[in-house]
Symmetry: C3
C-alpha cells in the first residue's frame, strides 16, 4: 500500500512543502527513516534530525521555522503528534482483519450472554451470567468472572483478570496482565493486633474509551463502586485502591498509586511514581509532577504541583535548585 | 435476607439509638445510603454525612458525640470499623455457596496429592507431587509448581503463579496475578563485567492467614527460605526480594519494595511506595510513612518514622514544613 | 551427591585452609549451616557468623583476615560471590533433567515454526508464524503472539505474555507474569481534551542472555523497536516505556521506571524505585542510587549519582546529612 505525500497531506488537512508526488509506504522514526518513510517532528529535541533525515516526508507544525536547509519533503499541520496518530490509526485500520468466533478450547459458561461478532481465544474463562458485548475480543488466558459486563468493541488482552460483578464500558482496551476487581487492602486489627479481613462487597466500574496499562491493578470497592471515568488512560503498573474515583479524560502515568477512597477530578495529568494518600479530593485539571507525594486535597482546579512535600510548580523548582546548592 | 436494627446491634454487642425495628437489607457507603441501607462512620472526615444520610442505620463509636441533629438510627459499638467488618463477613458467609470438584480441563499431575472438598477450575496447572490441602480453591489459569504445598482453606485467585517447592499456609488468600517463588535478582559480574546468574535454590514459605495483593511478587531464597509470617497482609504490586523475612501480623501497603535479605519485625505497619535497602533489620512494631527510604536497621521497637532520609516522625514533619517555606 | 572440600576448591581454583577431606552435600546460608553444608562470606555484615557457623566449609576472599578463631574449613578464592554462583550453577546443571515435548493441551498454531527439543506445557498459546528456537522451554499459561521469534535455550515462565512481532534472544529467562510488547502510553489530546490513541506499530527486541523479572512490563515502540541489550538484567515490577533502549550488561533493580524514548548506556547499575524522565540519554557505566529521580541526560560515563534532585553521590550524602540536622 503506497500513498503520495500529496494524498497524505490531504488526509491530514496539511500543506506540502516540497514534492507532493513522492511515494510513502511505511512509518519510521525521524532518525531511522529511509526512502519511502514518513516521520514526524513534535518534540523540539529531535529537530537536528530534520536536517539529515533520509525519510521521504516529515510531518511538522505550521509554526516550525527551519534553522538550516531541509532536504526532505514537509507536510505542515496544526498538531504533528495528533496528525501522525490519526494517520497511523487509519493505516492500522486498513491492515487489521477483524477476527470473530468462539474457540472450543475456551471455557464459556452456558449462562453467559455473548454478543454478535465476538472473538474469544483458547484458554479464556467466562463465568456465569457474564455479558459480553458485540465485537468484543478476548485473547488467550483472560479470566472474565461471574456476572461481569463488557461493553461493545472492547479488547481484553492475554492474561487479564476481571473479577466478579465488575463492569467494563465500550471501546476500552485492557492490556496484558491487568487485574480489575481484586479485593482491596481492608483489614481491621482486633484487640490482639491480629488483622481481620473486611469483606469487599462492591465492584469496579469502567466508563467508555478507557485504556488500562499492563499489570495495572484496580481494587473493587468495599461498598459501592471504584469508578474509572470515560476516556481515562492509566499506564502500566498503576495501583488504584478501593472506592477510588478517577474523573473523565484523566491520564495517570506508570507506577503511580492512588490510595483508598481518593477522588481524582476530570482532565488531570498525573505523572509517574506519584503517591496519593487516601480519602482526599483532587480538583479538575490538576497536573502533578513525577514522584510527588500528595497528602492533602487540592481544591482549586487547574493547578500545577510537584514534589514531596507537594508544592506549586514554581516553588518546587526553586526548592530543587536550593537543595542542589546546599553546602 | 432482612434483619432489624435491633438484631444487628445484638450481633455486634452494640446499643441502638433510635428505632430498633427498622429493617436492613444491604450495605452502603454513608453518602450513598437509602432506605434499607446500613452504613458506618469510622473516619471523622465523613462526619458531615451522618447528618444528611438516607441510610436506615449507621454504626458509630460509643464515643461519638453528634454536633447536629441525626435523623438515622445509630448502633453504638466499641470499634465501628471492626464491627462492620464482622457484619460483612457474616453476610458474605451466609451468601457464599462453597464450590468443590476438579475440572477435567485442569491439568493435574497424577502424582499430586489433592485433599477433601478441593475446588479446581479449568486451565489450572498442578505440578508433580504438589500437595493441595482440604477445601482449597484454585481458580482458572493458576499455576501450582512441582512439590508446592498449600494448606487447608486457602484461596488461589486466577492467574496466580506459585513456583516449585514453595509452601503456602492455611487460610491464605493469594489475589490475582501474584507470583510466589520467582528467581531473585542474583547476578555476579565476572571479570568482563558480564553478569553470571546465581542459581536460586531456596523457596518461599508463607504462614497461615496471609493475604497477598494482586500482581505482588515474592522471590525465592538463594539458599534457605524467604519467609512471610502468619497474619501478614501485603497489598498490590509489592516486591519482596530473596531471603527477606516479614514478621507476624505486619502489614505492607502497595508498591513498597523490600530488598534481599532484609528482616522486617512483627506487627509493623509499612505504608505505600516505601523502599528498604537489603541486609537490614527492622524492629517489631515499627511504623514507616509513605514513600520513605529505609537505608539502615532500626533497633528500637515501636518507633514511627518517615521520609528519605528516614527521620523520626516529628522531625520529619518539621523538615517538611521547613522545606515548604524555603525561599 | 557428595564432594570433598578439596574437590570443590579445585573446581573454584581456590585454596583450602583446614581439612580438605570433609564431605559437602548441600548449600546453606552461613548462619543456618550444619555438618555437610557449604556457605560463603561475601558481605562483611555477615562476618560475625564465620566464627560460629556449623557449616563444614565457607568460601571466602583471599583478602579475608579473620579477627577471631575460625572452626570451619575455608576455601579462599578471588571472588566468593562469583565462585559460589558458579558452584551452584554446576550443581543445578547436574540435578536438572531437561524436559522436551509439546503438550497436546497447548494451542500451537500450525504455521508456527518449532525447533528441536522444545518443551511446551499445557495451556500455552503460540500464535501464527511464531518461531520457537531449539531447546526453548515454555511453561504453562504463557502467551506467545503472532510472528514472535524466540532464540535457542530461552526459558519462558508461566503466565508470561509476549505480544505480536516481538523478538527474544537466546539464553534469556522471562520470569512469571512478564509482559513484553504491550502498547505504550501514547495518547494525543484532541481539541476537546479527549485523548486519541496513538497506534503502537513497533516491537520489542531483547538481546541474548537477558533476564526479565516477575511482572515487569516492556512496551513496544511506537515506530521501530524498544531495545534491551545483550546481558541486561531487569528485576521485578520494572516499567520500560516505548522506544526505550537499555545498553548491554546494564542491571536495573525492582520497581524502577524508564519513560518513553530514554536511552540507558551499557554497564550501568540502576537501583530500585528510580524514575527516568522521557527522551534523555544516560552515559555508559553510570550508577544511580535507589529512589532517585533522573530528569536530565548524563553525558559523562562512569558517574555515581543519587537523589531527587539527582546529585553526584558525595553531594547527595552531604545533603542527606544536612536535611537530617535541619531544625
Amino acid at each position: 500500500m503506497k500513498f503520495s505525500v500529496e494524498q497524505i497531506a490531504e488526509i491530514l488537512e496539511g500543506e506540502v512543502e516540497g514534492e507532493g508526488g513522492v511515494l510513502i509506504d511505511h512509518f519510521a522514526k525521524i532518525e531511522e527513516g529511509r526512502a519511502g518513510s514518513i516521520s514526524f517532528l513534535a518534540n523540539i529535541k529531535y529537530e537536528p534530525y530534520i536536517y539529515s533525515t533520509e525519510s521521504s516526508a516529515v510531518i511538522v507544525s505550521r509554526e516550525f521555522i527551519p534553522k538550516n536547509a531541509v532536504k526532505t519533503n514537509l507536510i505542515r499541520v496544526k498538531d504533528p503528534y495528533l496528525s501522525v496518530s490519526k494517520l497511523m490509526a487509519a493505516y492500522q485500520q486498513m491492515k487489521k482483519v477483524k477476527k470473530t468466533g468462539l474457540s472450543p478450547k475456551a471455557e464459556i459458561d452456558e449462562t453467559a450472554g455473548i454478543g454478535m461478532d465476538v472473538y474469544i481465544e483458547p484458554m479464556v474463562y467466562v463465568g456465569e451470567q457474564a455479558v459480553i458485548g458485540d465485537r468484543v475480543s478476548i485473547l488467550a488466558g483472560a479470566y472474565i468472572g461471574h456476572r461481569v459486563k463488557i461493553g461493545p468493541n472492547t479488547v481484553i488482552h492475554p492474561g487479564v483478570k476481571i473479577m466478579e460483578d465488575c463492569v467494563i464500558g465500550s471501546n476500552c482496551v485492557l492490556h496484558p496482565g491487568v487485574v480489575i476487581g481484586s479485593e482491596g487492602f481492608g483489614f481491621a486489627p482486633d484487640e490482639n493486633g491480629v488483622y481481620q479481613d473486611i469483606p469487599q462487597l462492591g465492584n469496579v466500574v469502567l466508563g467508555d474509551n478507557v485504556s488500562i496499562g499492563a499489570n495495572t491493578t484496580i481494587d473493587r470497592a468495599t461498598m459501592g463502586s471504584t469508578r474509572i471515568g470515560t476516556g481515562v488512560k492509566l499506564d502500566n503498573l498503576v495501583q488504584i485502591g478501593h472506592n477510588v474515583e478517577v474523573g473523565e479524560n484523566t491520564v495517570v502515568a506508570s507506577q503511580t498509586g492512588i490510595s483508598g477512597s481518593t477522588k481524582i477530578g476530570k482532565n488531570c495529568m498525573i505523572a509517574g511514581q506519584v503517591g496519593f494518600a487516601g480519602h482526599i479530593k483532587i480538583a479538575d485539571g490538576t497536573k502533578i509532577g513525577a514522584k510527588s507525594g500528595v497528602a492533602k486535597s487540592i481544591d482549586e482546579p487547574g493547578g500545577v504541583y510537584s514534589g514531596h512535600p507537594l508544592l506549586p510548580l514554581k516553588q518546587y523548582l526553586r526548592l530543587m535548585i536550593n537543595l542542589s546548592k546546599m553546602k
